[in-house]
């Protein structure tokens, strides 16, 4: 697997990951993204996701703003006063025409998507069992089981899954990236990866992607992208993601939580407090009636 495989690359080939039960993933590389938003469009078209606004944010070319029930791919436009690798040409490289200093500038595009966490907050929280882990290792919402309770929304550390006000007929209301489950079932690659013109979104077996991503980080560091790193929070309770990305610098600048936690980490202290309080309630009531 390497960049520039074109029609023979994993994004364009048929695959049998679902049948073979092989864990697949996405690797998103912002240094290759050109911000064309083809992934957003392909996702909307294939999955028939409704329009969710034509607003003007005013802060950048990002008018999508956030992932949500009707936004399963979201290209972020990050503008930073930092150099872009060893870039020497161009008006934003730190040197003005008159020879004076000009602040360095870089424009980074990152296509964000559901992370398909190793330990998924939404899946843990779902009270109906509607959210499941598929054979390909992805996290999937079964529309015919979901009842729209909304607990997954406050359990996702990445702000991905959301409830749509008007669920489709037969659906419960919670929506997010399906990893194009229907396409994968017949050996097609997800629509966003298929449409990505620069292979910034790379689809493939997770192990291959991780190996490729590590090589890519080394390659970029050699090219002067000293703050290139992988964003795949494996050291937190999320235990890693199946849709991971490369980031330049601080993940928070791309709206990614630096240390995401699955909310189940709060269960032990919260339940301990709740059970002790329940017992104390009994004790107070019985003591009051016994003594007075």
């Amino acid at each position: 697997m390497s960049i520039g495989d074109g029609p023979s690359g994993p994004n364009q080939r048929q695959h049998d990951a679902m049948e073979a039960g092989r864990t697949v993933g996405f690797f998103t590389d912002p240094t290759l993204c050109i911000g064309c938003k083809a992934c957003e469009v392909a996702c909307k078209e294939w999955n028939q996701v409704p329009a969710d606004g034509t607003g003007f944010t005013g802060h950048s070319y990002d008018h999508t703003s956030h992932l949500g029930a009707s936004t399963w791919r979201h290209v972020k436009f990050v503008e930073q006063d930092l150099p872009r690798g060893h870039q020497l040409a161009g008006p934003m490289t730190g040197e003005a025409d008159d020879g004076g200093a000009e602040p360095a500038f870089r424009w980074v595009f990152l296509s964000d998507v559901c992370k398909h966490c190793e330990v998924a907050g939404c899946l843990e929280a779902c009270p109906t069992g509607a959210i499941i882990r598929t054979d390909a290792g992805t996290v999937f919402v079964q529309d015919d089981v979901c009842n729209g309770c909304g607990y997954c929304v406050v359990s996702c550390p990445f702000g991905v899954i959301d409830r749509r006000d008007d669920p489709l007929p037969g659906a419960g209301g919670a929506y997010k990236c399906t990893f194009c489950h229907d396409r994968q079932a017949v050996g097609d690659t997800p629509a966003c990866a298929k449409a990505c013109p620069t292979e910034s979104i790379l689809f493939g077996p997770l192990d291959d992607l991780r190996a490729h991503a590590r090589r890519r980080v080394e390659q970029l560091r050699d090219q002067g992208f000293e703050d290139a790193q992988l964003y795949d929070p494996a050291q937190t309770s999320v235990r890693g993601t199946h849709a991971f990305s490369l980031v330049l610098g601080d993940p928070a600048a791309c709206g990614l939580p630096p240390r995401p936690q699955v909310p189940t980490v709060h269960l032990r202290p919260a339940w301990t407090s709740a059970l002790l309080t329940a017992a104390a309630g009994w004790a107070v009531a019985f003591a009051a009636f016994a003594l007075l």
Binding site: H59, D81, T128, C149, G173, A274, A279, L292
Partner: protein, 326 residues
């Protein structure tokens, strides 16, 4: 003129079209545009999404707390005081709550007809799943308990079977009632919402005490005058004062904003005043009914305050970042 993405400049329609839900941009957007990425993340946009729950949920928290703890009071009155009238009155409160709770919960669902899908599975790791079973078990115990209490009161000389069944049903309702009053705090505490999860151990105490005090207050307003209810009310008021002090003295920086400022802050603080100092003062001067009314009002206000704190906290990326960088 700074271009900002808000209602004043775009008009309400454009602002509403911009996003389907209210992703109110926090005050940090100006800083974000100025390049303060570390503080405000990505253009000050939220990292986690705000809860979708509407007014039914805080109403349910209030009613669940009141009726759940009413069953506990009924149980104590039955087994220790032997006051049948008080037992029946308390179980009536529990019974009303047992009917209203699932209605409110189903109302808020994206697809209310699928309410029973909650009972397809039982998941220890999902407070929503555990809570659904608690509500169900509470209803399954409280409603028969209320019926048995009424039968018991109507009978000239209640049979031994009726007496035992009534006691068992009331005890069952009290067991699940105490959990009903406190699990709702776990429900919001075990989430990614910073203002909620940072108080994951305080919230169960807060909700439990508010529930217990509300149950005692409601019984007093219904005419019960057992001195034990007065004592229970004092304990609840004392705990509520301690909770309010803990909230006021918290040092979580920007994470504490929703509990102190804005709509949610006003609701939580005025709720704390009503269940704490105000209820205490009124009770000390002997106005029990007014104190009970103040406590009920305060308990309801603070539940709505905690509900409003959810979106306020989620919409502030600084809170999410602060929690993860502590």
């Amino acid at each position: 003129m700074a271009i900002t993405y808000d209602e004043r400049e775009l008009g309400p329609r454009a602002a509403a079209e911009a996003k389907p839900r209210d992703h109110a941009l926090p005050t940090t957007q100006a800083e974000a545009i100025a390049g303060d990425h570390d503080e405000a993340g990505y253009y000050g946009l939220p990292i986690v999404l705000p809860p979708v729950w509407t007014w039914q949920i805080p109403t349910y928290f209030f009613i669940g707390g009141l009726s759940g703890m009413a069953a506990v009071l009924a149980c104590a009155a039955l087994f220790v005081a032997g006051d049948p009238a008080l037992v029946t009155a308390a179980m009536a409160l529990a019974g009303v709550g047992a009917v209203l709770a699932p209605v409110l919960l189903a109302w808020d669902l994206g697809r209310p007809a699928r309410f029973l899908y909650m009972l397809r599975v039982f998941k220890w790791r999902s407070p929503m799943s555990v809570g659904s079973w608690i509500v169900t078990c509470f209803g399954a115990a409280a409603l028969p308990a209320l019926a048995l209490c009424l039968l018991y009161d109507a009978a000239a000389s209640p049979s031994a079977v009726l007496t035992v069944l009534r006691a068992a049903a009331v005890a069952g309702a009290a067991l699940f009632g105490a959990l009903l009053a406190t699990y709702t705090a776990v429900l919001i505490g075990a989430t990614v919402i910073p203002a909620w999860s940072v108080h994951r151990t305080l919230l169960p105490v807060h909700f439990g005490a508010a529930g217990l005090g509300s149950a005692a207050a409601a019984l007093e307003l219904l005419g019960a005058s057992h001195p034990a209810l007065n004592a229970v009310a004092y304990v609840a008021i004392a705990v509520e004062i301690a909770v309010a002090l803990r909230l006021e003295l918290a040092h979580h920086g920007v994470i504490d904003r929703p509990t102190r400022h804005g709509k949610s802050g006003w609701l939580i603080r005025s709720g704390g005043l009503a269940t704490g100092p105000l209820a205490l003062l009124l009770r000390l001067v002997g106005w029990r009914e007014l104190s009970a009314l103040a406590f009920l009002l305060g308990a309801a206000l603070s539940r709505f305050g905690w509900h409003a704190a959810g979106p306020a906290s989620a919409n502030d990326p600084r809170a999410t970042l602060a929690l993860q960088r502590r």
